[in-house]
């Protein structure tokens, strides 16, 4: 009898971690996918994953149409659960892409819009970034100008103690020069300074160290 009760209790605990839904509320995910030239990407398999702290479900999937558009409608996940969109182009020339941990607060009128550029793997290289501090300044922001490839987006808030976390790698299109603009804060003078450096990109992956 005790074993039965224990088993029932374990089953209750196990099932309570499942992702639960409220089908009386339905969210729409509108995706529009293009390549770097703005051409629509058809037949990109797209799946929506609903998650809570313990579990996740693939709750919907579909493929983009000839215009690169796709609408997926899914039930609301309960208890502040989040959604992730995974794009997997059928053509293996293209890189997979994800938009992760989308909170329900980002839905407007029950809709989340995801217009994304998907990159051909052969057209991009990986730019590895290192950051070397002199100790006199702190890095407050980094941005790029140029043909930069799409990256996964993660809406989960990382625990950084309020410090800026710069990107450590980006996809950049080959044979170009990209501009890296960064902002620093100098402790001694309490001033903010914005500077730009040029990084030539050839046809191979490269590593760049930003000294500040």
């Amino acid at each position: 009898m005790k074993k039965l009760l224990l088993l029932a209790f374990a089953a209750t605990v196990a099932t309570s971690c499942d992702v639960n839904y409220s089908p009386e509320t339905r969210y729409a995910f509108r995706s529009h996918l293009v390549d770097v030239n703005g051409n629509p990407l058809a037949n990109v398999t797209t799946e929506i994953v609903a998650s809570n702290d313990y579990d996740s479900d693939v709750i919907s999937s579909g493929k983009t149409d000839a215009n690169g558009d796709l609408l997926l409608v899914v039930p609301k996940v309960e208890n502040s659960g989040t959604y992730t969109i995974n794009y997997s182009p059928r053509n293996i020339q293209f890189r997979t892409l994800s938009v992760k941990n989308i909170p329900q607060t980002l839905f407007e009128d029950y809709t989340f819009v995801s217009n994304r550029q998907v990159d051909r793997i052969s057209e991009t290289v990986i730019l590895q970034l290192n950051y070397q501090s002199s100790g006199e300044r702190r890095l407050d922001s980094v941005s790029f100008q140029g043909l930069i490839g799409s990256r996964d987006v993660d809406y989960a808030i990382p625990d950084t103690n309020g410090e800026f976390q710069p990107p450590y790698s980006v996809y950049a299109y080959k044979n170009q020069t990209i501009q890296l603009t960064y902002t620093t804060f100098e402790y001694a003078t309490q001033t903010t300074m914005t500077q730009t450096v040029s990084i030539p990109i050839a046809t191979e992956n490269l590593e760049y160290t930003l000294n500040y």
Binding site: T15, D18, V19, N20, Y21, S22, P23, E24, T25, R26, Y27, A28, D55, D57, V58, I59, S60, S61, G62, L70, L71, L72, V73, V74, P75, E78, D109, Y110, T111
Partner: protein, 208 residues
């Protein structure tokens, strides 16, 4: 709240089962049950018609009261649908509609064996989905109207066939252009089944 309504309706049914005699002024307790196979032909621009395919289901109804040729009863039906459009419905293999309703019918005897019976009714509806972890269902209501033909084969048993228009309205919060798509369903329900008059022998015995 909805569970309490269900218990209340079942309670009324159980109470009626214990009654055999007239309750006065021509009002009688009935003990006639009906079991049917139901196939809904869904139509309209809604998720039931466009994103799902009906498999069919079972209905159980119970004539509780009669007054002259009027009959009042309760019914429950459960219908199963295959999901054909995962983009609109989510990663489901099927959905289940449950309609719990009360109805009022009027009997037109055609001859000794055949009776036509127009009916109207309505009640509570819900849609359950088959994702294992689903905790909630989509609630709503149903309205129904149609005609049933009953063919008596034995004194206690008769067969029936019916054609009903069924309208469902479900609660939904979603993008404005999809509110109607997910909130309503219309169908023509084709049904066939058997009726059993439970108190037939007892009444016959009483008359002697």
């Amino acid at each position: 709240m909805k569970k309490y309504i269900l218990f209340l309706l079942l309670g009324v049914g159980a109470f009626a089962q214990q009654q055999r005699d007239s309750v006065g002024n021509g009002l009688k307790w009935n003990r006639k049950v009906r079991l049917e196979y139901v196939f809904p032909v869904q139509f309209g621009d809604n998720s039931h018609a466009k994103s799902q395919k009906a498999i069919g289901g079972l209905a159980f109804s119970y004539d509780l009261l009669s007054y002259r040729k009027f009959h009042f009863g309760l019914g429950i039906q459960r219908l199963i649908f295959d999901v054909t459009d995962g983009a609109a419905m989510g990663a489901l293999s099927n959905t289940n509609d449950t309609n719990l309703y009360s109805y009022l019918g009027y009997e037109f005897p055609i001859n000794d064996r055949l009776t036509l019976r127009p009916e109207i009714g309505g009640g509570y509806s819900r849609v359950d989905r088959d994702i294992v972890s689903y905790a909630e269902a989509q609630d709503g209501y149903n309205l129904r109207a149609g005609l049933r033909a009953e063919l008596r084969r034995r004194k206690a048993i008769s067969f029936n066939a019916g054609l009903f228009f069924n309208y469902n309205r479900f609660e939904i919060n979603t993008v404005p252009e999809y509110v109607d798509y997910f909130s309503q369903a219309q169908s023509l329900q084709i049904s066939a089944g058997i009726n059993i008059k439970l108190d037939h022998k007892k009444r016959k015995h009483k008359k002697r």
